[in-house]
């Protein structure tokens, strides 16, 4: 047999507004002594020019695959360049994609799940968003700024030296309300240990869901935003058929408003955990490890999206529970 198993190259997506410290972070990653050879795809001419690192700049291009459905949009420029770069896959260990501050993160993420050629060669590691703690309030009106935070797996609250602790805490609360699954780091000059933001495996289904316990404990979230997070924790066994029907309908009807979702489920009749994640209408799920004997079998789901409170998520989930004979 001539087949050799090829390993996929991890991809880190770096987003954030111009001036947030995104380029500083990129330079830090490139010059850090992590021993990785990195190829960078940029959508804007930046001040990055490191010897021996491959930097390619391309113009952002959105391709539709299904007559304009937003869940089926991909980034044509990334598909083309990744396929070219992967011919020399032995020349680098990681890809970093730096998007402009105005880029919609959804097509970038969807590219790694929808395009079969890309999916065969690379895997999305994490979306990192750099937020300018001082100036972000000027951008709350901008959809891109909100979505970059909502889609992130890692958020750097940068320039913390320019704001007070009180402001910082308020900002962090607001961001946590929008995105309950991201890891949030406070930084100055984007100073952070590279190892903590590379190799996050945020899209790896076998990575357990991590909801900030503070988020779960908070009883009242700030709902001044239309974009928010909702975490559901429910004991009991779920009826697989009912769950399928609910999620199918939800994604079909509300897919454009659901940015991301993740979950660990306890399906009736199964000894293993069922894990899933989704980006808009794209849904990916599989059987995970067996439940441990001492583990409480609870269902945990997190949704990030727009107008979630209108979707009756908690009631709908409860309606999928297998009725218990008391």
């Amino acid at each position: 047999m001539a087949v050799t198993e090829r390993k996929t190259v991890p991809v880190t997506v770096l987003t954030g507004y111009l001036g947030s410290g995104k380029t500083t972070l990129l330079n830090r990653i490139l010059t850090d002594e992590h021993g990785q050879k990195i190829a960078v795809i940029m959508n804007e001419f930046g001040a990055v020019g490191i010897d021996n690192q491959l930097v390619i700049d391309v113009d952002e291009e959105i391709f539709e695959m299904n007559n304009g459905c937003i869940c089926c949009t991909v980034r044509g420029d990334l598909i083309r360049i990744i396929n070219h770069l992967m011919k020399r896959r032995d020349k680098f260990d990681r890809l970093i994609i730096e998007t402009t501050g105005l880029a919609d993160p959804a097509p970038v993420i969807q590219t790694f799940f929808v395009d079969d050629e890309v999916r065969n060669q690379v895997r999305l590691d994490a979306v990192i968003t750099v937020v300018d703690a001082r100036h972000i309030w000027q951008h709350w009106e901008a959809e891109e700024a909100i979505e970059q935070i909502a889609f992130a797996d890692v958020i750097l609250l940068n320039k913390i030296d320019l704001v007070t602790e009180v402001e910082l805490e308020a900002l962090e609360r607001r961001i946590r309300g929008m995105n309950a699954i991201a890891k949030i780091f406070r930084t100055r000059d984007a100073q952070i240990e590279t190892a903590t933001i590379l190799g996050v495996n945020a899209f790896d289904l076998n990575h357990a869901l991590q909801i900030d316990p503070d988020f779960l404990n908070e009883t009242a979230h700030e709902h001044d935003e239309t974009v928010g997070s909702l975490a559901l924790v429910e004991a009991g066994e779920l009826d697989g058929d009912k769950l399928n029907a609910w999620l199918g309908e939800l994604l079909r009807d509300r897919g454009p408003d659901i940015f991301r979702m993740k979950g660990i489920l306890n399906l009736a009749g199964e000894d293993c955990r069922f894990v899933f994640q989704g980006v808009h209408m794209l849904f990916d799920g599989c059987q995970d490890r067996p439940w441990k004997p001492d583990e409480s079998r609870t269902n945990e789901l997190v949704f990030i999206g727009r107008n979630l409170e209108q979707m009756n998520l908690a009631d709908s989930l409860r309606a999928c529970l297998v009725e218990q004979n008391i």
């Binding site: 087949v3 390619i56 391309v58 539709e64 299904n66 991909v74 070219h84």
Partner: protein, 357 residues
């Protein structure tokens, strides 16, 4: 020689050479005496088939060359690649002379093709197609595709028009009136590959929405072929043949090759046959000229020959990390293929036609 025996002729390994990186393209001269090869390290070489001599036109230099084309008269070789590279050599003198060298852009040039009857080179340049004349040594047309980057382009076999494909459409310009608005064919997705049948009657498009579309000359309504498991990345037409009503159309998607045959009954349309032997992404397909034999090369390291585009007759190895491209000599006697680590392999037809029954 009767065509039946000709179909049975087998290929035999002839020779091997190597470049330093992934082979990105192979292009034959029209008379079949030489072919050019390019690599992801930016190498461009000319290989003379009979003497097995290799002339380096450009050495490895860090940025890739991704597309090659030889002009219809065999005089010019064009190469395109990373960093906006467009290179043209004149090859009819004692030594190859470079007559064009553009590399002033961040746009990656990965599609270029000569007009089959005139020394005019079309290449995709971002959202534009540039047409450069080797006679005038200058650009003669700048066609704005608009909707996206140009993903593929193809001259009609008669040379009188040029089609370019991208997101949501295929646009075709007439050579005698470049300045006029192109004819537009709408698509639901993006067209990654287009191909005219050698007789010029059909235009096919392989799309990212997992479909193939085929237009017949003069009919605005295309056939749509669906059911692919992924995007359709490459297409190849056979030449017309007395045994079939229309040329065969081969398409690649993931690890599969799908061959489409037009049914004699027009109401049925096209019938599919899946060639599903490969165990890695199929990288290239091409019909042997003057024959219905199809060659397919894949990441699994196999190069397969399919008699009448349906039955496996020969299987070659020689590129352990996978084959990346292939090209038949226009006379159909010789096949050249490239590999992921710079391998270049050549097979030639044996005259004894014995073996597989």
């Amino acid at each position: 020689m009767a065509s039946k025996t000709k179909d049975r002729d087998l290929l035999e390994f002839q020779w091997y050479t190597a470049l330093s990186d992934y082979i990105t393209a192979i292009a034959w001269s029209p008379d079949g005496t030489w072919f050019a090869v390019s690599s992801a390290a930016g190498e461009v070489v000319q290989c003379v088939e009979k003497t097995k001599t290799v002339t380096v036109l450009q050495a490895a230099q860090g940025t890739s060359i991704d597309a090659l084309a030889v002009s219809g008269d065999g005089v010019f070789l064009a190469a395109g690649g990373q960093a906006g590279a467009v290179l043209v050599w004149r090859l009819d003198g004692h030594a190859p002379t470079q007559i064009l060298a553009l590399d002033q852009s961040h746009i990656w040039i990965d599609r270029l093709q000569w007009n089959p009857h005139h020394p005019e080179l079309a290449y995709g340049f971002g959202r534009h197609v540039q047409v450069w004349s080797a006679t005038q040594q200058s650009a003669i047309a700048d066609l704005n595709f608009e909707s996206s980057s140009v993903l593929d382009l193809a001259w009609h076999p008669s040379g009188d028009r040029l089609a370019a494909s991208g997101n949501q459409s295929i646009k075709t310009w007439w050579r005698h009136a470049w300045e006029e608005a192109p004819m537009v064919q709408q698509l639901g997705g993006a067209s990654e590959a287009i191909a005219w049948s050698p007789d010029g009657h059909y235009l096919a498009s392989g799309n990212n929405d997992r479909s193939v579309m085929v237009w017949q000359d003069g009919n605005p309504f295309p056939w749509q072929m669906r059911g692919f498991p992924g995007k359709v990345r490459q297409l190849a037409w056979s030449e017309p043949h007395q045994s079939i009503s229309a040329p065969l159309l081969a398409s690649i998607c993931g690890e599969g090759v799908v061959v489409w045959t037009k049914d004699c009954d027009p109401s049925i349309g096209w019938d599919a046959q899946v060639l599903d032997l490969h165990q890695g992404s199929v990288r290239a397909i091409a019909f042997q000229p003057q024959s219905l034999q199809l060659a397919s090369a894949a990441d699994d390291g196999w190069l397969c020959l399919w008699r009448k585009a349906s039955r496996l007759t020969q299987l070659f190895e020689g590129a352990p990390t996978g084959f990346s491209c292939l090209a038949w000599q226009p006379q159909g006697k010789t096949l050249a293929a490239g590999g992921g680590q710079g391998e270049v392999l050549v097979w030639t037809q044996t005259t004894t036609g014995q073996g597989f029954g």
